[in-house]
Subunit: 184 residues, 2 copies
């Protein structure tokens, strides 16, 4: 994703930085991930299902087999069954004082290249929207680069509005560290 967004120079995540902050709390109350798991045969039910979320299952029929050159690197096994990770969406609660309600902020929506244009991205984002409605939340929000016309068209087709006037402010790096000993 960082490469696609021409921002790879800003990407410093490591396996340990990810694992130390994710998968620590029950779904939806903090950072939450829906994984896109793909298999040519039905995926067996989870041994310890979450009480707060039932996995969404969907069958797709493709005319030709999908060629995934990195299939093994992105596989997990449920017993003997190989399941390929095709993408993910990472989101977490946000809060609007205007609505007086929480919502969800979608930080990342990613589908691996060989699985794009099949409806998986729509499936992942729709699952977040459906969960927001279920919880009585008021909004789902995310950001897009203004030159990413394909993404903007896709998001608008999903019912989102792109807000023209708002800009993100970011305090990071040395400018943030300067507050360590700030006499607030």
């Amino acid at each position: 994703m960082a490469v696609f967004e021409r921002l790879a120079h800003l990407c410093s995540a490591t396996e340990s930085s990810l694992s130390s902050n994710l998968f620590l709390s029950p779904p939806f109350h903090s950072f939450t991930i829906f994984l896109l798991e793909l298999s040519s045969s039905p995926i067996p039910p989870l041994l310890s299902p979450s009480p707060s979320f039932t996995p969404i299952e969907k069958t797709f029929n493709f005319d030709i087999p999908l060629n995934d050159p990195e299939k093994d690197a992105f596989s997990i096994y449920y017993g003997d069954q190989q399941v390929i990770i095709g993408g993910f969406v990472l989101f977490f609660p946000n809060y609007s004082t205007f609505l007086g309600k929480p919502g969800f902020y979608v930080e990342d929506l990613f589908v691996r290249e060989c699985y794009r244009r099949k409806g998986f991205g729509k499936m992942l984002l729709s699952a977040v929207a459906k969960q927001a409605v279920k919880m009585g939340y008021g909004r789902v929000e995310w950001v897009v680069l203004d030159w990413n016309v394909n993404a903007i068209t896709f998001y608008e087709q999903m019912g989102a509005k792109v807000l023209p006037e708002w800009r993100i402010c970011r305090l990071t790096g040395d400018a943030l560290q300067a507050y360590q000993n700030a006499n607030v």
Copy 2:
């Protein structure tokens, strides 16, 4: 704030919608508020202080007394001592997959009109930045309207960068509700 941003028509929060979603969890792990409490004499220590945060105290000297026409509506009492609420900052954790780290997102920074231009806004935002550094977080982010030149100048002086290319996408109202029964 909604009036100032010319967005009062979008403000539907009520006392009960606010109280049902805020003040429910320990600070910093979910929606968190720093309140600006003002008093002409030192504010007594909290009876049950939070183990995760020590209130920041600061003394200001003004040449002329501040006139607060809504003083009583915005007062609370610590025993006999009247303390005026002058503003607040509401923030919550966000997450960057690029950094592999959490950060804070500042939803609202508000100082009541009669207390503006005294450094209180800077104090509130600095307190969030300092807390982010303390927790090892990588960013503090918020949004600003592109026509709000005074705010942009203030944020840049605090060390923030305004990102020119990103736009917010928002799925809300009927467009969001449409996902209630979506065949995801």
